[in-house]
């Protein structure tokens, strides 16, 4: 059995940066990622795109990932692409399935760098073909370079929605309209939160403002203050009805709607290991409880990048390095790069995170998405509407009993799309805070695994 010093789950900015520091210092490192190439969500496909017109349109921050990917490829870490981690035992026995079949490895330490997923924000009709997330559309932009065939409608709130619109327009696509679901925030309050960061990050702020301005200018229509959406159609999306905070109802015709309401840390992996989580009101999301190194309540697990709390790519790089430095310390090694010190990483991390409170405040999700109406599907897999959960909710049961009684969270996505909404519904039904409610317990496997892949381990057991 392979026994590396360090297993890193995820080859995004955090995972790669940690791998580079750890491997260069002489640790045996294995990096596993479901994607076929390194880069994570943000730098997806950067090796193929950098230097092409597509790369240029995706922007300089995107292309800057190439350096990290190259360094990662050369750092000496063992890299298994197209490979899923589907179980990590508390003793760190780790089960992976990839092109090489299914195997079990036994690392000394694990770094979870699994990134984020988009916040599921249920509304009526959100399961119709033709409703997709902005993140999904951006993935298509990076590989294979697809754009919506018609000018597209985007609804949402968050930097990613703006960035995508900006990239799409630069690549020759068109935005038919933007339904801005961002609650209006007094500018002064937001700026106060940003504090001195505004000055230091004025470049980025200006960039964001210019996206906004560009969008208002280039999108066919721009509708601020949207509070409610409904996707219309039977077999596929035919239109969208929306309501604004001012109470105006309107309808548009479209066969594609891209939605986005921010992102959430990937918590399944950490929670399957019993790592403690807490509610982060600023980000309206659960996040793992971590110390300044990314160490969690499990002694041999560290968490870095967006999986540790949403911070963006640059913060992920520095968090990955910090976790790697801690790992080196624990295993009695030192970083090979002279400049790679705790102080420099912390300073860089602080700079990368400076604007975060401002962004969190400006793009705080509207309350409506935590309180979908009775007709809205909560659990996409089991097709359960809020209405179907009402009786059980009234009995003030916890999330796990609710799951047992209704099957919410029992489908293939294993609660990734309904977990947060169910927690919010429970909190609302019982008049409790999100922090007092826990999401569903995570049952293994982390991702579905084929029967034959599990059965294969039995044969292996016989031969060893």
């Amino acid at each position: 059995m392979l026994k590396p010093d360090l297993l890193i789950v995820g080859a995004g900015p955090a995972g790669m940066s940690a791998a580079i520091v750890a491997a260069r210092a002489g640790l045996k490192v294995v990096v596993v990622d479901e994607q076929p190439t390194p880069g994570g969500q943000i730098w997806r496909g950067v090796e193929a795109n950098a230097g092409t017109s597509r790369g240029r349109a995706l922007g300089s921050q995107y292309c800057s990932g190439l350096a990290t990917v190259r360094a990662f490829r050369e750092c000496g870490a063992v890299y298994w692409p197209s490979t899923r981690v589907w179980q990590i035992e508390p003793t760190l026995g780790t089960y992976v399935t990839g092109p090489g079949g299914t195997r079990v490895i036994a690392p000394r330490l694990v770094l979870i760098a699994t990134g984020a997923q988009e916040r599921p924000a249920p509304f009526r009709g959100w399961t119709l073909p033709g409703v997709m997330t902005v993140g999904a559309a951006q993935i298509l932009l990076k590989n294979p370079g697809s754009v919506p065939s018609e000018p597209v409608w985007i609804a949402g709130c968050g930097p990613l929605a703006l960035l995508y619109a900006h990239q799409l327009i630069r690549m020759g696509g068109a935005v038919a309209g933007f339904l801005d679901t961002r609650p209006s925030t007094p500018l002064r309050e937001s700026l106060r939160l940003a504090g001195r960061a505004v000055l230091r990050s004025s470049g980025e702020l200006a960039k964001g403002m210019s996206w906004y301005a560009g969008l208002r200018h280039r999108a066919g229509r721009y509708v601020p203050g949207v509070v409610d959406l409904q996707a219309l159609g039977t077999d596929r999306l035919e239109g969208v009805r929306y309501r604004t905070a001012a109470g105006r109802l309107a309808e548009i015709r479209t066969s594609l709607l891209l939605v986005h309401e921010g992102v959430l840390p990937e918590l399944h992996t950490a929670r399957s290991l019993g790592c403690e989580i807490q509610w982060d009101a600023g980000q309206a999301a659960y996040r793992p409880v971590l110390n300044e190194w990314g160490e969690c309540s499990h002694p041999d697990i560290l968490i870095a990048g967006d999986a540790a709390g949403i911070g963006g790519a640059e913060a992920a790089v520095h968090r990955g390095r910090l976790s790697a430095l801690r790992i080196l310390q624990r295993l009695g090694k030192v970083a090979a790069e002279p400049g790679m010190t705790e102080e420099s990483c912390r300073a860089a991390l602080a700079r990368a995170l400076a604007l975060r409170p401002f962004l969190d405040r400006v793009f705080r999700p509207r309350g409506e998405i935590f309180a979908p109406d009775d007709d809205t599907i909560v659990c996409r897999c089991e097709e359960l509407r809020v209405r179907d959960l009402r009786t059980v909710l009234a009995g003030s049961v916890g999330p796990n009993q609710l799951k047992a009684f209704t099957r919410a969270g029992m489908g293939s996505c294993q609660g990734r799309q309904c977990g947060l909404t169910v927690a919010a519904l429970i909190a609302a039904a019982e008049g409790r805070q999100m922090g007092e409610v826990q999401p569903f317990r995570v049952r293994p496997p982390l991702k579905p695994v084929r029967l034959c892949d599990l059965a294969g381990l039995a044969d292996e057991g016989l031969s060893s």
Binding site: A48, T127, P129, V131, I139, S149, C381, S412
Partner: protein, 103 residues
Amino acid sequence: MFRLLEDDRGRMESTVTIEIDGYPVIARIGETVASALLREGASWSRTTPVSGARRAPYCMMGVCFDCLMLVEGEGLVRACQTLVRAGLKVQRQTGPRKVGPSC
């Protein structure tokens, strides 16, 4: 729902043909079955086992499982995590999948 950009890498030699429900679909090497599907007129991937409703790829990053399709030799898998390869046979999944000697 989607179309390919005409950029500097749209040359024909970088494509393969896969089959979706028996029809040939041209795909780019390195893309996923889901991204090829989304350029088709009917871009739905499956109907649900519960109510028979149509679904299409939603997240493209492997967390929603709405892109489940029957891939020859592999079973019902996420099309957004499955790379195309020449001759790959894919079927839209209607309702719960069948199990049988050929699956």
